[in-house]
């Protein structure tokens, strides 16, 4: 049996991050926690590798980062989705769905034969 954790491909990580912050603005640690909760046993993200992804998405204009007071009272950098980020997320989800169904189709064909 292969290891229960495998690294997340970069494009997928971007998509997951955008999905998480699309629900509500979150700071880096929060996003890491959410990723961990959602996919505890499935995906493994080196927590630090989250930050290059966040800054790349911010530079592309899909995320906006702001310093705000966090739940513990300390200032943390909160990321939220911008309008163009929202469009990007929709597009990516769409193409993801198409890819997944295509893969599924091929798999089910293989199962029948």
């Amino acid at each position: 049996m292969p290891s229960s954790k495998f690294p997340i491909p970069q494009g997928t990580l971007d998509m997951l991050i955008m999905q998480i912050v699309s629900l509500e603005p979150a700071h880096g640690y929060g996003i890491a926690q959410r990723l961990d909760q959602i996919s505890r046993s499935v995906v493994q993200a080196n927590q630090g590798s989250l930050y290059p992804a966040l800054h790349r998405l911010e530079l592309k204009g899909w995320l906006r980062g702001e310093w705000k007071q966090s739940e513990t009272g300390r200032e943390a950098r909160f990321y939220s989705l911008t309008a163009s980020g929202r469009r990007q997320l929709v597009a990516e989800k769409h193409s993801w769905a198409r890819l997944a169904s295509a893969v599924q189709l091929i798999f089910s064909e293989g199962a029948e034969s």
């Binding site: 640690y29 927590q47 630090g48 530079l59 200032e75 943390a76 950098r77």
Partner: protein, 900 residues
């Protein structure tokens, strides 16, 4: 772009990232502690989960700035640090480039303004100058590309080719808006001038076709924006007010757009006057509708899609028909069959005129390009110099570069580092160059021909100039970085690490080649400078042919102040008498036209001696009072001066007598005694020679110092016209007499303006403006060039001596004489100097013809000039090499060997 912004705020970004990561870790640790993990273990686990912080920071930085930008930024910072560590190197390199870039930018500013800049009008690229090629069988005044007003109106009918055709002529008027009369430049234009150019009004309106309808019936004027601002304080209520042009009131209907300064870059009009009012703008002018009076430049705007060639071809049939019609027209002058043939075979020529029409551009075209080429060479020399400096520095940086190579730096990366070095130096030099350029431009403007409007050119730095300086700086940076980068690319890693002294020999060959090139370029500049200096010197030594000391001149023109001809003449007589009676005056004279201003009154003449001949070119004419010859120190060689015998009888018109110069007598009368020969103006069969030559005068300059022309002078008070230039020889210093002369003229008529009021010495100087410009600039620049190459030569030779100290030491220890060490160095230097000359001399020979037309009394290949330049250059070069040579002879064998 965003990355560049990030570079500027990288401190803040770094801080933010730091805080962000720290927040993450702290939260993780406290969460783990909360779930019961001991504090130390919690920290360890958090760090482990997080991954390498340093690596993550690097990754994020790469996102902020992108890789190459960061590298480049680091390169620049590294360069800056190493430059600050070697200030003398940095200052020398920056100053070299500052001089080169500053000079080039300053000259380019003039080249751009005078030669290249399009008019600030709608689509200037569609403007063409229309000119007559051939004999127009016409009289005229003004300079360059002249035609008559009716031809312009005819051309304007050709709407198939032109959107419109307009004409214009410049003149000087006495202008007043209520106060004193002052001479001002006016542009006389056809009614469609503004609409064809596409220039609007700042306030009011510009001319419409109707403003140029019936002659004398449209007393209107448009003011220039500058005149409105400076003389009227930009008063908004000028519309409808009167402006007095030669005492004729014209109504101000508008002020032209602020950017528009006429179509001649050297002459900025204060006022525009419709052609229908030309009789008022030019006193006594009645020939507006005469087809045989040429005085205006004609320009047109081509229709969209019509090429210049098509328009030119399209005009010829119409033009030929017009010529045929003109010959049959009543009033066409009686002329010789040859001239008639010339007339009928004329053609019409179009030239692109996106920059308008300018006499200044015509005069400066060649000198400015010559000066620009000289500065470009100077800039090239400066780049070579910096190259040499970099190579010299490179050889001391060998260890550093070798080590970096050994540690795995790529050659490309190292090349980029060297490039960053030279770009940094070049941009700094360029920045300083741009900062000093306005000062240089202001100095240059002072060299422009006299009479150029003071507001015509500006010394400011505009966007085009900045762009130019930036491009030049980057080019200079690349150029000076080329040799060092090439050198670095060739260096082998092994050898550079093996060499203990940390020096490489390959660089020396390259540096010698650079010095050789510098010497070649310096030679061309120096020969050029010597030629221009010779020219200036020859012209000054020759002088104008008359005595200029204590001589003051000024002009008055009573007709422009509203005097009728007779009264104008009486006024001039009154002023003349008052000046003669003044105690400051030695002698005083009047000439109808001023000398040494570049212009003249000229015409062809008919000479009747044994047979009747017409002159084959225009003769320069003038009218003077009898005292002219004594005042100017001009000798009457044969015959007599003007006197009462020349006064014409009542009822008679025209001159009875003339004095010709030696050149005229020699060209048209040969050995024959000129006295008693009859002459007259004009060359047609209807010319009647009835003016007797009564004297011959020595040759002197009329238009300018270079010219040697045939001249014929008439008695002043017997002819037409009523303006005059006074020449007054004063006692004492000219400066102290200026006020007295002004008072005399003021006493005769307080409102009469005096023009060109200055000493004749100054006038001579002004007429040599272009020659001064060329001599001064090329002299200065070649001195700089010489200095740069001497520094280069000295640098290389010192380096060679340092490198070969060991070898020289052994030689000396083995008994060689010190002079042989000197010889060793001088031989090297001579080789460079000689090969530099070998490359430079053919260059000099090839470039000579480009400056030929700017020279006087000297050929570009003048052996004496070249020999002297070569001599000066070689001795200076050897002089620079002597210092290191001397050092070589003083090498102490023991020290040299111990260093091993």
């Amino acid at each position: 772009m965003r990355q560049l912004a990030n570079w500027l705020r990288r401190k803040r970004l770094e801080n933010g990232l730091d805080r962000e990561l720290r927040y993450h870790l702290d939260r993780r640790i406290s969460d783990l502690e909360g779930s019961g993990v001991p504090s130390r273990e919690a920290r360890r686990q958090a760090m482990l989960e997080f991954g390498g912080i340093g690596q993550i920071q690097e990754e994020v930085r790469d996102i902020w700035l992108t890789r190459w930008l960061r590298d480049f930024a680091y390169d620049l910072r590294f360069s800056l640090r190493s430059f600050l560590r070697t200030p003398s190197f940095t200052i020398t390199a920056v100053i070299s480039l500052m001089l080169g870039i500053g000079a080039t930018t300053a000259i380019y500013s003039l080249v751009d303004q005078v030669l290249l800049h399009g008019l600030p009008v709608r689509q200037p690229q569609r403007l063409v100058l229309i000119d007559w090629q051939g004999d127009q069988v016409a009289k005229g005044f003004g300079s360059w590309n002249l035609m008559s007003y009716p031809i312009c109106r005819d051309l304007d009918e050709r709407k198939d080719l032109f959107e419109g055709v307009f004409c214009r002529a410049l003149t000087t008027v006495n202008l007043s808006t209520g106060g004193d009369y002052r001479p001002a430049t006016a542009e006389i234009v056809s009614g469609n001038y503004f609409s064809v150019l596409g220039v609007g009004a700042s306030i009011g309106r510009v001319f419409a076709i109707d403003d140029d309808g019936v002659p004398d019936a449209n007393p209107v004027a448009v003011l220039s924006y500058d005149y409105w601002q400076m003389e009227l304080g930009g008063a908004p209520d000028v519309l409808g007010r009167k402006v007095l042009v030669n005492r004729h009131p014209l109504t101000i209907i508008g002020v032209a757009a602020s950017t528009f300064k006429g179509i001649d870059v050297g002459e900025v009009p204060s006022v525009w006057i419709p052609a229908s009012m030309s009789g008022q703008a030019i006193p006594g002018f009645k020939d507006l509708l005469d087809r045989r009076t040429r005085w205006m430049q004609v320009l047109g705007r081509l229709n969209q899609g019509v090429t210049l060639e098509r328009a030119e071809i399209g005009l010829q049939p119409w033009f030929r028909a017009m010529l045929q019609e003109d010959v049959r027209r009543a009033g066409f002058p009686v002329t010789t069959p040859e001239r008639r043939w010339d007339f009928l075979n004329s053609s019409i020529v179009l030239t692109a005129a996106p920059q308008g029409h300018s006499a200044l551009r015509r005069r400066l075209l060649e000198p400015l390009w010559v000066v620009f080429a000289v500065t470009a060479v100077l800039l090239g020399l400066a780049c070579l110099n910096v190259s040499g400096l970099f190579l010299a520095r490179g050889s001391t940086r060998d260890r550093e570069i070798g080590t970096r190579l050994a540690l795995g730096a790529s050659r490309g990366r190292l090349g980029r580092q060297l490039l960053a070095d030279s770009l940094l130096i070049a941009l700094t030099g360029g920045f300083l160059g741009i900062a000093t350029a306005p000062i240089a431009v202001r100095a240059l403007i002072a060299f422009l021909p006299a009479g150029t409007a003071p507001t015509a050119l500006h010394a400011g730095v505009d966007f085009r100039l900045l762009l130019f300086a930036f491009v030049v700086s980057v080019a200079a940076g690349l150029l000076s970085g080329l040799a060092p980068a090439w050198q670095a690319g060739r260096r082998s890693l092994m050898s550079s690490l093996r060499e203990r002294s940390g020096t490489a020999f390959g660089g020396v060959r390259l540096r010698k080649a650079i010095v050789t090139a510098q010497i070649a370029l310096t030679l061309t500049l120096a020969v050029g400078a010597a030629l221009f200096l010779r020219t200036l010197h020859a012209l000054m030594a020759k002088g104008p042919g008359f005595t200029t000391s204590s001589l003051i001149s000024f002009g008055i023109d009573p007709l422009r102040s509203g005097y009728p001809t007779e009264e104008g003449n009486r006024l001039i007589r009154r002023v003349d008498e008052a000046i003669r009676e003044s105690p400051i005056t030695q002698t005083s004279a009047i000439a109808r036209f001023p000398l040494l201003t570049g212009g003249s009154w000229n015409n062809q003449m008919t000479v009747l001696a044994d047979k009747r001949v017409s002159t084959d070119r225009d003769v320069n004419l003038n009218a003077v009072t009898p005292d002219f010859f004594q005042t100017m120190g001009i000798r009457i060689i044969a015959g007599r001066n003007f006197d009462e015998r020349d006064v014409r009888a009542p009822g008679e018109s025209g001159w009875r007598s003339a004095i010709v110069n030696e050149a005229f007598a020699k060209r048209y009368l040969g050995d024959r005694n000129p006295l008693g020969v009859l002459v007259c103006q004009g060359s047609g069969p209807d010319a009647k020679p009835n003016i007797e030559i009564v004297g011959v005068m020595s040759n002197f300059s009329y238009r300018g110092l270079r010219e040697e022309s045939e001249q014929v002078y008439f008695p002043f008070f017997e002819g037409e016209g009523a303006g005059g230039t006074f020449y007054v020889k004063v006692r004492g210093t000219p400066q102290s007499s200026l006020a007295s002369l002004r008072a005399i003229v003021h006493g005769a008529d307080p409102s009469l303006p005096m023009t060109d009021f200055r000493t004749v010495d100054e006038q001579v100087d002004r007429s040599l403006n272009t020659e001064h410009l060329l001599a001064t600039l090329s002299g200065t620049f070649s001195t700089l060039a010489l200095l740069l190459s001497l520094v280069g030569l000295y640098g290389v030779m010192s380096f060679v001596v340092t490198q070969r100290a060991h070898e020289i030491g052994i030689r000396l220890a083995l008994g060689a004489m010190p002079w042989s060490a000197v010889w060793l160095v001088l031989r090297d230097a001579s080789a460079m100097i000689l090969s530099g000359m070998g490359i430079g001399l053919p260059l000099v020979w090839a470039l000579g013809r480009f400056v030929q037309s700017q020279l006087y009394d000297v050929k570009p290949s003048d052996p004496a000039v070249i020999a002297i330049t070569v001599l000066v250059l070689s001795s200076a070069g050897l002089g620079a090499a002597l210092i290191p040579a001397h050092r070589a002879s003083r090498v102490n064998p023991t020290d040299a060997l111990r260093a091993e």
